[in-house]
Symmetry: C2
Subunit: 420 residues, 2 copies
Amino acid sequence: MHYFRYRGNVLYCDSVRVKDIAEKAGTPVYIYSHRTLIEHYRKIKNAFASLRPLICFSMKSNSSLALCRALVKAGSGLDIVSGGELFKALKIGADPGKIVYASVGKTPDEISRAIKAGILFFNVESIPELCAIEKMCGRLKKRAKISLRVNPEVDAHTHHYITTGTQENKFGIDIDTVTKIFRQKDCYRHLDIVCLHVHIGSQITESGPFVKAVRKVSSLIRLLRSEGHKIDYLNIGGGMGIVYRKERPQTAADFAKAVAPLIKKLGVKLILEPGRFISGNSGILVAKVLYVKKSKSKNFIITDAAMNDLARPSLYGAYHEIVPVHRSSSSRARMKYDVVGPICESGDFLAKGRRLAAVKEGELLAVMGAGAYGFAMSSNYNARPRSAEVMAIGRNFYVTRKRETYADLVRGERIPGVLK
Amino acid sequence: MHYFRYRGNVLYCDSVRVKDIAEKAGTPVYIYSHRTLIEHYRKIKNAFASLRPLICFSMKSNSSLALCRALVKAGSGLDIVSGGELFKALKIGADPGKIVYASVGKTPDEISRAIKAGILFFNVESIPELCAIEKMCGRLKKRAKISLRVNPEVDAHTHHYITTGTQENKFGIDIDTVTKIFRQKDCYRHLDIVCLHVHIGSQITESGPFVKAVRKVSSLIRLLRSEGHKIDYLNIGGGMGIVYRKERPQTAADFAKAVAPLIKKLGVKLILEPGRFISGNSGILVAKVLYVKKSKSKNFIITDAAMNDLARPSLYGAYHEIVPVHRSSSSRARMKYDVVGPICESGDFLAKGRRLAAVKEGELLAVMGAGAYGFAMSSNYNARPRSAEVMAIGRNFYVTRKRETYADLVRGERIPGVLK
């Protein structure tokens, strides 16, 4: 569900013509639909309404200040993974009491900043990290609330790069060790360990693995409580899948129906960390066709967007729907294309073997579902300035990030005098 | 071959202790050896000395201003792939007469800038691009020299993302079409089409595919000359492999021995576009160990460098050797580790299942062979500021790029008033 829709043959974002945005902001450009964004946030909120959960939007999927600000204004908390995201969160006036901080590699400086900011929870991934937070709290004479990330050993059946709940990967703490930590929790004099966290991966389309993980954690909570430990919160992470192609992911309501009863029985405050579910279909990447090239065996559409703008097709083999910004009214023949960018490697593609209505140079194409892990992963590879970002709100649109210039590419660079 | 070597147990870059650099510039940090860089440039230059070729360093592998400046000062030309790289090339005072410009997706603005700068050659990838350059030359009332990139249909037997000389990929023009273009070259009134270009891929370790490609192009040149066309130049691209692990790539001398005789017979001016061969082993990425984490089935070293700093392991499954910056003199047990970064996805790793001498928190590790496609592909994923870059020259070292700050992460961002 999203508000990138045709009126006649013209693609709109909310009530703005995509073409108008591209003309004003240039291409390639990321365009976000405020309405889609907020509606997805509300879908989860409403689905779990009976539990009054804390919903922390996962900034790693998209840390655009404007986008995060819109969600915070709608009541969302934030799930951060770095000092940089903490900086951004505070910059947009987010309530630190609604910020949870995950990452297997928090540095002392990052830990210190997060303690000082007074965030709600550190999602802790290892005993050495627990010790590092304890030590920093001691030095700062502050307390911190801790959520232990449990590795439930549940396979989420998703891309192996985004599966996070199995023994084989770097995330979380096994159940035995979690138990041990609780039994020794008096050693951590500055820490309140009162939450468990479980996050099994990303782009998961069925509730089965979630239910399995929550069941495992529920048993653990019961065991810990029977030993007298206090567990007030349960954070079940994010990972809800969205539609890129023909996936039929569970709806938020289905998901809640499967999971909420388990949580209710536990009597814990629920925390959710949706990222892609909220931002994924809220954004598109609009590119201009530079050339149409026919080789002996293939047709190529060469656009001005490339793998530096959107890494997902190269990195994960991800599928993104591609549609024209202006549909032809005549019935143009459909042809099979590789849609590629200008970058000098074969891994630079947006789509392979895609059937599209015949395309001409200068036309605009929209790469759908680019709101999550789109701009967030973009780079300057091939010395390409990063694209602009625009948000449509109702009938208006706003450039929320200026396109980078060539001067931006060399910011901070210096040539030693001996080389001059 | 490189000048990152131990003296006793201490790793040096040229004559500077790597540890001293890391202390001054922080971690993660890219460190380049000026001596390694220049020696690799000279290796190719010397190997082909009898042909007096134009060597154009491929900036896409590393467009650090200091690094490119060092090569330009040593006499190198530049191979660029974008307007951004042209901007950088001009910024360091490169001679436009030694710049060749490849890319399947040159925009009108980029073409215009390159014509105005007076670059040596456009490496042209398609007929539509040829038309675009012709048109722009007409508008600017200028001429341009053209090299046609021939797709020789030779498989370089390398990673499919960096194979570029087969029918299946977006690069180059098939031989029949090249012939046709020459026969119609009078249509392109502003263009001097006097060079052929062939580039079959990257990290190729044997001369066989190169020889095959050059043979094919040689036949084509003979055919074209027999029809009265002038071919003064041949650009055989880059793609020479380097040692990451146990590869035994051809030396520059071996390569020249196999290829030079073929070129000599043709009587053309040779252009070479080495990138990785020059920059690859000239750089390392130094990271600090944040945590050592033991899970049930694995040991993890969590460093402060991640896939946003070095994408190659995630993107290509690339192998990079990892060594301690300070070797332990005691014989520490060797253990098997996954070396990973702080980024919240399983795809974030630098090495998997690597046997290393037992590592402690706070120690420094060097990721070798990170000079090519290292910083060039780095991003701000997970809101991580990009690392600093440093070059050692003899006994001194210079910060050639400042580490990004949190403020850099939000540069150019704006929050619309309605969201405040």
